[in-house]
Symmetry: C2
Subunit: 364 residues, 2 copies
């Protein structure tokens, strides 16, 4: 894989990842006249729950469902300049023009209005966009195994790079897919957030993992994984290095965890063999997902990685995939119980979800 | 207020709350031929986050957007029998026909498939529906102050009653309003959940309140409230007994907390004067919400109450109101950061939200 770093017209970084090292050099300049990004986000800690919340008021103006011929993630053409100056690419990463977190955000007073119980800081970090293919009409599940492997290597590259940025405490690569969950750009792409704090979800998982290890002397996800593989009822795909299963307390109508059989803190720690195997397993899983309702499934897929500086022996890398679609044309909404009390009520059991997904895998 | 307890044809309880004690007695019988409710939900604890999740597979068949002339929450007519046998009512409460939690659910093995890290139990508890008015086309914000006061008394009555059910650990009265958040019945109504566990949200708040009190010797919400009232920028309505403010780390595009000035654990602990005052303050707040985009705002409003058996000196009652609408016709979706990592990214600052709501209150 060849890696070429360039700059966009407004100074943002763009990185081309080419599968064939003999591809012509990436030299096309960005000729657009675009203003520099004005990062202006901040973070505040909720005094009642202790959780950090980000505020990015400048993002209200972000691109919203452009027509297909104005897709900013397609390669540029002589007629239309996009975010990617080159006329083709394999996988490309660039800094988000409307970032929730960015380097160089202004310093802020350390509390909101001097309230000591509401800590605040600039939204330091980095937000990147990852385009998985130059083909606008594709989806991740239609990529070749070789391309999925490339994307995984890119996630590893970016996890390492973002972890080195001062202030970044956790790196989160994810993909949102589908209009139903608010995706404003159809082109197959994901995002990577470098957060300036350990996320509330990861904080909870580390606390549980720590308590579990103190009591049992083992890793909770390792023990869950072993039990799921032995029992089998919620397992969707299992290979030499990976198992995908519906979690035993699934909260979403479609909810899958895909974990390596070995404890590793993050994507960069995966071996060559584990990476090759991931590509095959994940494509099988995505086939099940699109087969479930016989339509492209809207989903969120995100990597649970260890924070940069802590819990690296406690966190167990896994990809979590979830969907809000509870029937072909029915959404699960976050209503009072979910948004008010953080209690998810699932209309299906994990065993039902697993059975439907396995059937979808055979039928589709 | 007169209280009449009756039974529906399938054995569920229905309770009429009449503002005028001279109303004719509530004696109309439910003549429908409906099968008994088969409660079948269960709860499982997520082994990775430690949070309880509910599964209610029998709810997939629940009533979904019936036509207005088949509303199950309107009073019955000679032609059409609804959930409420009487031909009119003030406020009425009945057990949900499709409950997420119920008394008499079957016992279950104490772990999922013998996995000790996945505790499980029957979904013991109770789910009730509260109809705020017999008028189908009304909304909560259009009720009289006297009716809001009645509803508050009903919430108090039900909090006390549900707290006495063996197994119920927390009572959560809430209202979901608007199709955008999945409300399937238009008739103005709310719900009350009696949960068999302390909710994850409340657990987090109690942990933070406990740490805060150990460090500062005071209540965190009390200190926030005092600071907000002194500062004023995020305050929406303030009266003798209550203040409504946009929380200083607001995570939703519209996000309000309405708290009494005195620490009380739950609605039953409010005085007569506090209850009367609440009705006035809440109606002013709801006027701001509907004025914001000059349309009925979809929202979730829920009471944060102390658990039944613990933290009753630490919890500080407050109503939380939130909306997913970030512009008149744009929803905030829970995408990768929110649903994957529990990090909310708000496109507005709390100060902007407060300013817009105050303007809406003057204009509307």
């Amino acid at each position: 894989m060849r890696r070429t770093v360039r700059q966009l017209a407004d100074g943002r970084e763009i990185i081309y990842f080419d599968e064939n090292p003999d591809t012509a050099p990436r030299t096309v300049a960005d000729t657009r006249d675009i203003p520099p990004v004005q990062p202006g986000s901040e973070i505040r800690r909720d005094p009642l729950t202790g959780e950090w919340v980000a505020m990015a008021a400048h993002r209200q103006t972000r691109t919203y469902k452009p027509p297909a011929n104005a897709c900013p993630l397609c390669p540029s053409t002589p007629e239309y300049a996009t975010e990617i100056p080159e006329h083709d690419y394999d996988v490309v990463v660039f800094e988000n023009r409307f970032p929730s977190f960015a380097e160089g955000v202004p310093d802020l007073p350390s509390t909101v209005d001097g309230l000591p119980m509401v800590p605040r800081a600039g939204g330091v970090g980095r937000c990147e966009v990852v385009c998985f293919t130059s083909e606008h009409e594709r989806s991740f599940g239609e990529l070749s195994a070789a391309r999925v492997r490339t994307v995984l290597d890119v996630w590893a590259d970016r996890t390492t790079a973002l972890s080195e940025i001062p202030g970044v405490r956790q790196v989160f690569p994810f993909e949102n897919r589908g209009e139903e969950i608010g995706v404003t750009l159809q082109h197959p792409h994901g995002q990577i957030y470098g957060y300036p704090f350990v996320t509330p979800k990861t904080e909870r998982m580390l606390r549980v993992a720590k308590e579990y290890r103190a009591e049992h002397g083992s890793q909770v996800l390792g023990d869950v994984l072993a039990a799921e593989r032995a029992h089998g009822e919620r397992v969707l795909v299992s290979s030499r290095y990976w198992t995908a299963f519906v979690p035993p307390a699934a909260r979403w109508p479609v909810h899958v965890q895909l974990a390596p059989h070995r404890q590793v803190p993050d994507v960069p720690a995966l071996t060559e063999a584990e990476r090759d195997d991931f590509a095959v397993v994940y494509l099988r899983l995505l086939g099940m997902l699109d087969g479930l309702y016989d339509r492209p499934l809207p989903y969120v897929a995100g990597w649970n990685q260890a924070p940069v500086y802590e819990g690296r022996d406690l966190a167990w890398l896994h990809l979590e995939v979830l969907s809000v679609l509870r029937a072909r044309d029915k959404l699960k909404y976050l209503a009072g119980s979910e948004s008010g009390m953080a209690v998810w009520v699932n209309d299906s059991t994990p065993e039902q979800i697993a059975q439907r997904l396995r059937c979808a895998g055979h039928g589709g």
